[in-house]
Assembly symmetry: C2
Homo-oligomer: 332 residues x 2
């Protein structure tokens, strides 16, 4: 039998409608494949990208040449650009603003690796330190309100380049979905005097049935009202509102926890295309008491269909408890 | 240059970021294909579906046998079922309700056609009359609040059966996305004393730049803040809040307008997978002054990626004005 479940963070209702089985092999997973060919993100091809904004590189090497380990460049086809200032136009029916913002690409390795998990722990940590550094840089710009870091892996997840990379889009307004989470977190804080994410985490650790992995500093879990089969979130145990302020010494554990989940998903679903995204607090301090950053990982297992487009209600054919049990059993 | 645009109905902001060209052939469209094989929806295979709820059939033929033109059956793997009554459970962190509702499949032809547009106008009209009939039937059940009709065509759009069909899911609560539209429509009505959709329609007809087709009773347009390339809406010119109350004599024009758009999309994009969905008023009369039913057609051109999942903000690489101009020029 199916049930409606409400995600306390987004307020989204989903329909969990488990079909006869929850074996991952029952789903038409969208796999990722390496297709090869010329790669503008490989070491030696630095002139094929716009000039770098930031890099972690060997001492003595020059920007836009070899010697880097992580490299950040502007997106060649940016969704947003750092134009003068935000200009709002139009009336109630046709409101618009110019496309002010930043759109950067974080190239995670000079080698042509297809997955973040092919890097060693130190390499993954340098990717997180780069996320941190870019968010710290962009939050200094008073025109920007929010920085969204995300990763598309595989064509089915929206990737056009296979070389392992992430993206950062910084926007002049806080995006709707984040605003909704902040509103729900504020209501929870008003009612209970505690951070909603801290409370979700301790309830999940106590219940145990949706926990996928427990690290020293991070926990991975199947959210109670997951939109998608095998959707998995990674949350810090400590109340840290801003990703860019997470202490560096905990990022080894983040690398181990996140890559552990990605490896389990690869094993369970056969290297699916996937997205992950970081929900963090907006720039500034307004939300620090009641919001707490986290990562949402979405493997491409089911397709969004007419019902979801029309209602905003997702139908998830896998019980989150079954997904967690399945992923937990995998040895990686 | 890109811009942010706000959809006045949903309140959604999108980023319209036109790339070098808006030729449909530049996009990695997800095409639909016929794969053949045994089809449980074809005439003669009536025993391969659950017993029919409704049909339009030749006089003298019996239910669940041949002789029908449109046939409605329960979904074999229903997302929701008509259990006793709605039971809410749980606290703030884990709220749930039992999966009460209806999930029906509308089989649009006894022949193995892959597209609604392969039917003649009378056949398409009978499909709409069936939608109307089922919504009228379900709204009599006091446990149900809303009926969402939608169509998935092609695997990339979430279809698992290729024989032309639609689905209806009726829910015990009004879905979030519809509630948001109703709220925005109510605010507009409070401020302007008019239906938001009537006002959008007259503004679009006056501007003309996003109009795709004008029928006697219906208009097709590219919405100002389309989420997806070539997204197209079909709206009645008259203020009709409920699809199920639309006068039958206007449904020939709906068949012509909708199939005209679908044929243009097929010609422009090479028979893409697509979804359409009907946004109509909730059962009851509460919203009748300010809301007005319409159809949203979403061809599968781009993939939803991490940024969209994290922000709710869609990046659309095709200007709606360019899409409308392109579709308008196609002769069908």
């Amino acid at each position: 039998m199916s049930e409606f479940r409400r995600d306390p963070l987004s307020g989204r209702w989903v329909i969990v409608a488990p079909e006869r089985s929850a074996r991952p092999t029952d789903f038409p997973v969208e796999r990722r494949y390496g297709v090869g060919g010329f790669c503008p993100f490989c070491e030696g091809n630095e002139d094929k990208t716009p000039p770098e904004i930031f890099s972690i590189r060997k001492d003595g090497t020059a920007p836009n040449g070899p010697g880097w380990r992580v490299r950040v460049v502007p997106n060649r086809f940016p969704a947003l650009q750092m134009e003068d200032s935000l200009a709002r136009q139009g009336d109630g029916l046709c409101r618009r603003m110019n496309g002010l913002g930043a759109h950067e690409v974080i190239i995670e390795s000079p080698r042509h690796v297809l997955s973040l998990c092919e890097l060693d722990c130190a390499g993954v940590k340098e990717v997180f330190l780069t996320y941190r550094g870019r968010l710290r840089g962009l939050r200094e710009d008073p025109r920007l309100a929010y920085g969204m870091i995300f990763k598309n892996v595989g064509a089915a997840a929206g990737a056009t380049v296979e070389h392992s990379h992430s993206q950062l889009i910084a926007t002049p307004v806080v995006p709707a979905m984040v605003r909704t989470e902040l509103r729900n977190a504020r209501k929870h804080h008003e009612a209970h005097g505690a951070c909603l994410l801290c409370d979700i985490l301790s309830a999940e650790l106590a219940a145990g049935v949706r926990v996928v992995a427990r690290g020293d500093h991070f926990v991975a879990l199947a959210p109670f009202a997951a939109r998608f089969p095998f959707e998995t979130w990674v949350l810090p145990k400590a109340h840290v509102p801003h990703f860019e302020e997470h202490p560096a010494e905990a990022l080894d554990d983040l690398a181990a926890t996140l890559c552990g989940v990605l490896r389990r998903l690869d094993a369970a679903l056969g290297s699916p295309a996937y997205n992950y995204l970081i929900h963090t607090s907006p720039f500034g301090r307004r939300f620090d008491a009641y919001y707490h950053w986290h990562i949402e990982i979405i493997p491409c297992v089911t397709r969004v269909a007419g019902f979801e487009w029309g209602t905003g209600v997702y139908i998830n054919p896998v019980l989150p408890e079954s997904a967690a049990a399945f992923l937990t059993e995998i040895r990686v």
